[in-house]
Symmetry: C2
Subunit: 410 residues, 2 copies
Amino acid sequence: MTDTKAVAPGCLTGVRVLDLTQFEAGTSCTQVLAWLGADVVKVENPVGGDPGRRTGATTPHRDDPYFLMYNANKRSVTVNLKSPRGLEIVKDMARKADVFVENFAPGAIERLGLGYDVLSTLNPGIIYGQVKGFGEGSPYEKNLAFDMIAQACAGTMSITGQADGPPTKPGTTLGDSGTGMLMAISILAALYQRKETGKGVRLGVAMQDALLHYIRNAFGVTTKTGKPAPRAGAKLVGGGNPPGDIYPCAPGGPNDYVYIYTSRGNPTHWPKLLEAIGRTDLIGDKRYDTREARVEHEDEVDAIIAAWTRQRDKYEAMRLIGAAGIPAGAVRDTLELLRDPDFEKRGIMQTVQHPTNGPFKMPGWPVRHDGNVAVVTPAPLLGQHSTEVLGDWLGMNAEQVAALHTDKVI
Amino acid sequence: MTDTKAVAPGCLTGVRVLDLTQFEAGTSCTQVLAWLGADVVKVENPVGGDPGRRTGATTPHRDDPYFLMYNANKRSVTVNLKSPRGLEIVKDMARKADVFVENFAPGAIERLGLGYDVLSTLNPGIIYGQVKGFGEGSPYEKNLAFDMIAQACAGTMSITGQADGPPTKPGTTLGDSGTGMLMAISILAALYQRKETGKGVRLGVAMQDALLHYIRNAFGVTTKTGKPAPRAGAKLVGGGNPPGDIYPCAPGGPNDYVYIYTSRGNPTHWPKLLEAIGRTDLIGDKRYDTREARVEHEDEVDAIIAAWTRQRDKYEAMRLIGAAGIPAGAVRDTLELLRDPDFEKRGIMQTVQHPTNGPFKMPGWPVRHDGNVAVVTPAPLLGQHSTEVLGDWLGMNAEQVAALHTDKVI
């Protein structure tokens, strides 16, 4: 499967995470903790579970790839949160947990009776994380939000798209996963601190606020110009050092482009590029010799490069330009990436055997620890670990768990 | 300045970070550690320092906002890494450090004599983090990469843009900051683990690999369709539940749009939306009553909504639709966001007093710890803390530091 020794980093062995998340912003956060070795137990509604299981699902009785992507390495327990006994079980689990994470709609967890005031009384050491769309005290704090709403409200759409076209949603679900990663950072820092203090903490992050973290360059542009940062196609929002764009390659498909970039910090990139594309005749030409000159003649510069890239496929163009020491990258699509054996060989993607979906290939945690990657295990079926977890965490025996099933508590 | 009690979370008090990063992928990572309370010391070349100080700079003798955004809360020490004495100083600092982070070009840190084999011998507990463009063992591992190269090669551009347009770069610099956040997570997990084991670790992440983490939904689409995930404008890459798009608002400026989304998980959103836009006549209309029907008549659905949104500005549209319980978000630009007092009031943006740039407003760490945010302090001037840090970390006195200055070692 992989040439890389795939062993879980196990940094968080012994850390128990009580996971009341769904969809992506919360689930991406807790999955990272699972990859790093924590015991993450996902508590789900016995009727259907995390709605993310069926988001976009096209096959009956099978969890959608969307769910599989964000719930690997977790265990699933079903609990009916509307039953008093179910609620008691979750509170008992909270007593045993180090971390609690939820991303319900605003106010929902408190209405369930599982707010921070309640859980921190039961367990003063608990690290309690909440992900919402808008921040506490924001004019929109009670509003529902999903990834695309946050991306609209936080500026990412305004700086994405063609210069003369409409705002465009980045294809990345950064409002969700980008926020989840920031929450994971604060949880880990709080766990570290707790080793000294023993004290828990309430953590909160809003998707709109988190997205600002990822567009700081654009705020820098606005600081300098006093204007909204523009949309710039594939060029840099802040201008940059031409050339810096995607250039069309053979055979002309929708993703047959290569990115070529000359760094402002390295004035040798431009003459090296001219050499790589066989245009040494232009080295020293005053029309193109400085950044300022190339900004002025940017269309000509782009045409010179495109005349060369059109003769080659994107991988050959990337190889030749890259070998000349100039930053270059083929525009790759998701099918090319999923089929590229390189990622599986290095353990960056892994194929899990899912009990109902069969073999499923997905990206794992991309950071290597001493050269090793975490082993990805498949996302759990709904309630797959109820007996196991209620035994591990709460000391129940099989009969007790069976009785809870009969009573529709789990 | 802010209504929120702004106190540093201080989770990482006592953690020393030796920071040899530049530009953004590495600097964004170490800045987060600083926000969370670590003592982050940035080691810079005495001649010019981090090239990020001048990236895009338009004012002589002032650091660019780009630098200020990623180096707040750090201290700066100058050291000439090409002088043997300078190198010894960095090694002495490595003996005292808990964490080391670098993102030089492939092979550069090892050529300097500061590779993991060297530093881990001096300090077996050191957590050594490296950010590169491409992963070890990848066919491109020796290639230079910047954010846009990684975004081309990792698929984010292929899924961003209009359906009939070219690949588009997301305006977010996710190849840089997105990668930096994943490295921060692994560093924090390793710090936690080290409390038990005392052992250090070598961490490595590649920008191309890290970006795959943020487009897992698109890989899920490819898994189901067997095709590359498409570009979809502002709609969802995976289709979704119409309506779900940006709709034009008055007065028709480049960012005068509102995002409106009806969740697949909540079938009441559509009739509620019809009520909110005064089209109760269409409730129950078979042309639009189910997801499948709306997919078939998506253009008509979009036209019905746009007829209403065009009569209002984006904030009013967001308010009215949001109040009806339907996810809605105005498309905001970076100037609107920077001027909105809400973020400063809540401590999500903070204004620092920079010694040469004057007041500078920037986003801080967006996760609240017990309701508080970390205080942002301005990015350091080049070498601002040389005397202080060489005293703190290495016990040098002012005369010894002055002699190093004279000898051009620092």
